[in-house]
Every structure is written in structure tokens, then in C-alpha cells.
Symmetry: C2
Subunit: 298 residues, 2 copies
């Protein structure tokens, strides 16, 4: 499918891409750059990809360059690689926020570079190249965005690439992407971090009890509150406007529940609690969740 693909940043997502490209033979050659020595050694020891110490060398002659590193590293990366990018290269990423990144790239005025952003909606609570696996993207969505949503053969090529990886592809504007993800992903993460912090900062007397009885609800929240801190710091900064907006809506909804509890308004509570059951059914029907009790935990 490609002659040479470069992956910059080889953590959970980058290394899962490497595994999937390898397994499905989507490129004759794969170049890898990761600023971490441990990650580079791990890749060298476990894959046939070529690992580079010099980031600008790693992109030479590549047809597809994929940035899979924290959002705050993009600018430096782009400045380091821009002069070595092949003419008509497809440049993409896997970041969780798009509008700010697109601004950075537009300001660089890259010539003969086809910038199309990718966001594979896939991941786990684990980080690092040893956590990756080739099936991570199977049957998951990948959102592609470009300036003016223009298609063209590069868009078709990138779409085919993600489909070959196992994903379903959808196009979206940078703005819509950032708003939808603030609801489905960034808000839940902000809340999960807050709730786990509330429990962690609690009275020492009950520390062990909280761990023991976590199966009563808390443990579900600890999963996403265990996600990579650097990645999430960058997301909250880059998408702050949308996140603050949805946090505000959330606080109003929480206030409504709090008031119903204060006034012991059973009917109101019942209505609130009944209104939230359908969404899960819709998500299961859309193939985005298991229908097994307790997530099918073993």
C-alpha cells in the first residue's frame, strides 16, 4: 500500500500501528522515531522496523508520516522534519484534539505536503510500546479531518489505510471533532480524575475500605483515571474552550441532582435516573460496547 511509512512517537498508539502495519503488510518499509531510549530499544528488539536517532532522517522518502506523540510535542517535531519531508507526502497524526494542531500546521506553510488529521477512537488505560497490540483499531472509528474537508486521492489513500488497519472511517470538521470529543471523551476524563481524587484525598481511616469495596461503582472510574497524564494535560489545554463549556453543563446537571437529594424529591430522582438508561442500549446497538454484565469482567 505504501513504500515507506514513518511513525513518530511509538507508545500505545504508535506501536499498535506499527504492529498492525507489519501484520497486514501495508508498507514495504517502516521507520520509527521515539525520543525515549527505552522505547527505541524495545522496538529494535521486537520489530524489523528501522529505528532512528535523528528525527529528520526518519522521514526521508516516506510516503506517509504519522505523528503519535503528545500534542505539545507537535510543533518541535514539525520544525525538525519539515525540510526533509518528501514531495506530496501524506502527513497525519493520531491526536485527540484537532483545531489547535491545525492552526500550528497552517502557520508552518508546508509546501507539497498533504496534511490530513486522523483520530483513531481507540486506546486503553496503559501506555508505552509494550502495551500496544495489532487489534487495537479493529472495528473502532477513525475520524479524518482536513482544511475545507476536501477529498482528493490522498484522502482516499489515507482512508484505505485506516480501513486496512481495521477501522471504520468518518470525515468531520476540526471544530465538530473537538466539540463531540469534549463530550464523549474529555468530560468523562475530567470527571473520572475528579472522582478518584475525591476518594484518594479522603480520610486515611477508610483507605483500605475504599479499595475493598470499590466494586460497588468506583472501580469503573479508576480505569480512565489511570490514563497517560502527559497526553491528558495536553488535551485539556488544547481543547480548553469546549471542555470548560461542557464542564459547565455537567455542573448544572449535578446541581439538579444535588437539589433533589437535599429536598428528598423521590419523583425527581426517579425521573433523572430513568432518563439515562437508553444511551447505553444505543451504544451497545451501535457495536461500541459489550452487552455482557459488568463489561464481561472475569
Amino acid at each position: 500500500m505504501f513504500n515507506k511509512i514513518t511513525i513518530i512517537g511509538c507508545g500505545l498508539i504508535g506501536s499498535s500501528l506499527l504492529r498492525a502495519i507489519d501484520k497486514k503488510k501495508l508498507s514495504k518499509e517502516i521507520n520509527i522515531f521515539d525520543k525515549s531510549k527505552e522505547a527505541s530499544i524495545f522496538i529494535k528488539n521486537n520489530f524489523s522496523a528501522k529505528v532512528f536517532n535523528d528525527i529528520s532522517e526518519s522521514v526521508k522518502d516516506s510516503d506517509l508520516v504519522i505523528i503519535s506523540s503528545p500534542l505539545s510535542s507537535y510543533k518541535e517535531i514539525l520544525l525538525s522534519i519539515k525540510s526533509n519531508l518528501k514531495k506530496d507526502v501524506i502527513l497525519t497524526d493520531t491526536g485527540s484534539v484537532k483545531k489547535e494542531i491545525n492552526k500550528i500546521i497552517s502557520n508552518l506553510n508546508l509546501e507539497h505536503v498533504h496534511w490530513i488529521s486522523s483520530h483513531p477512537i481507540a486506546g486503553t488505560e496503559f501506555s508505552g510500546p509494550e502495551s500496544g497490540f495489532a487489534e487495537l483499531f479493529d472495528n473502532r472509528w477513525c475520524i479524518l479531518s482536513t482544511e475545507n474537508q476536501k477529498g482528493g486521492k490522498e484522502m482516499d489513500r489515507l482512508k484505505s489505510f485506516w480501513e486496512a488497519i481495521g477501522s471504520k472511517v468518518k470525515l468531520m470538521t476540526f471544530e465538530d471533532h473537538d466539540y463531540v470529543l469534549s463530550l464523549t471523551s474529555h468530560l468523562p476524563h475530567a470527571i473520572a480524575y475528579s472522582i478518584v481524587r475525591t476518594v484518594v484525598n479522603n480520610d486515611n481511616k477508610f483507605k483500605d475500605d475504599v479499595v475493598q469495596y470499590s466494586a460497588s461503582g468506583l472501580r469503573d472510574f479508576t480505569r480512565i483515571a489511570a490514563s497517560d497524564p502527559t497526553m491528558w494535560r495536553d488535551i485539556f489545554i488544547d481543547n480548553s474552550e469546549n471542555i470548560l463549556k461542557v464542564l459547565n453543563s455537567f455542573s448544572k446537571n449535578l446541581e439538579e441532582i444535588t437539589k433533589a437529594i437535599q429536598s428528598k424529591n423521590g419523583e425527581k430522582l426517579n425521573n433523572i435516573f430513568s432518563s439515562t438508561r437508553k444511551l447505553r442500549k444505543d451504544i451497545i446497538k451501535a457495536g461500541q460496547e459489550t452487552d455482557k454484565p459488568n463489561f464481561g469482567r472475569k
Copy 2:
């Protein structure tokens, strides 16, 4: 282990107990009362237990009576059964809040009745007798509480019963139970309902997107926001004091994150997000959670 056990309320928990008692042969006879006709028919068709239309008849000669119905139904149930309870019966329940229930039972001045409350920390997002299964309590905690935490042979018997069911047993005061569970269970549920409601009440334009991209975080919250509304209404009313207290702590923690986002304080966000990873590791170590990525979802 017992000659006769009565289960009042045969939903997810009651019917799972029925299955476990049946499977492990913990009683010669099992009596069932459920006010729902559908539930009663389901039990009659699928189990050898005796199903009663008259609640007061169902407890006659029982050595162990287990109330597994919503908290708000306890008072009426107790008034209906009190005159038919066998001398020296063990009376227990499976409710999620204890202090208010204990008040109700103390005020009834039941004579020759050994009241020991049980709270099996087990459940799923599904309701009704068809959702139950015998293994629900395996390796889960069950918290027992009595007035003055006095032991005695009835406590030993109830403890052995839960252990035979598969649970690990711990004693706790009514007050400590209600506080710990407000943190580990009631707060997470209040938050999950709020977040799902925030998303559900959102702009219609993005309804389908929210479902499609829910794997980016939201879907984890929809599980507990799909729990039984009546049960949760009762919990929030009975444990309102503790819940309002922990909701207040939560709001302060969320405010801290909100301020860090507003000021784009990356260091602060990084510190917050790093402080929440350990709890999950502790919970996994305590055998209360799977260590598989994404809860081991298939």
C-alpha cells in the same frame, strides 16, 4: 445449613441468592415472595422454590428471612411479616444503606428476632430475576452490621451462610458502612447519572456522533448510569447526608481541575492526573478488578 429460607423480593440480587442457595444446597426449603406477578411466574417456571402470593405466609417457620427489595419497601414489608416471624429467626437484607433501615427496625421492637444487616457488594447494571446468576457473589465482599456489633451464634451462622454463597465477610458499624459506600458507590453513581444526562441533554445535532464515539471514555460511565432507578432513588434519599458531603468534596476537586484548565496550568494538570493512577493498581492488587486493558472487553 438452614431448614427454610425466605427471600422477599426476587430481582437481580434475590434471584441470584435463590440460584446460589439452590446450587449449593444451603436450605431444605426456599420460600419466595415478590410483589411482581411476572417475577413470581418466572420463579415458578424456573425453580423448585415455593412462591407465595401472601407475604405474611411466606415467612412462616423460616429460619432465615432475607429482604432483597428496594429500601422504601422495607417498612411495609416488616409490618406485614412481623407477626408471622418464627421465634429466633435471623432477619437480614441486602440493601445498600444501613443507618435509616436500622432505625426503622429498632422502632418496630421486634421480639425474638435477630436482626443482622447484610450488604453484598455485588451486582450488575441489569435488573429482574432473569438477570441473576449463582456466581454473582463469588469472591465479592459482604458487609454485616448489627446494633452494637455484637456477635453471637446467629452472626456466626449468617457469616457462614455468606461464605458458603462464595463471599468474603466483614463486620462494620451502620455508620461506617454508609460513609464508605457513599464514597465507593453512591458518589460514582450520582456522577455517572449527571454525566450521561449532560450528554443526553446535549444538542440534537451530535446525538449519533456521541453514540459512535462513546468508546473514547463515555461508555464506561453508561454502565452504572443504567442501574435500577427505584433502587437508586431510595439509596440517595436514605443516605442523603453522607452523599451530600462527598458531593461537596467532589465539586471542590472538579473546581480545582476547572481552574487549572482555565489558566492552562499544565504542571498542575499533570500533578492531578498523575495522582489518580495508583488507586487502580491497589484495587487490582486487592482482587477487586481485572488487570486486562479496557476491563478485558470483547
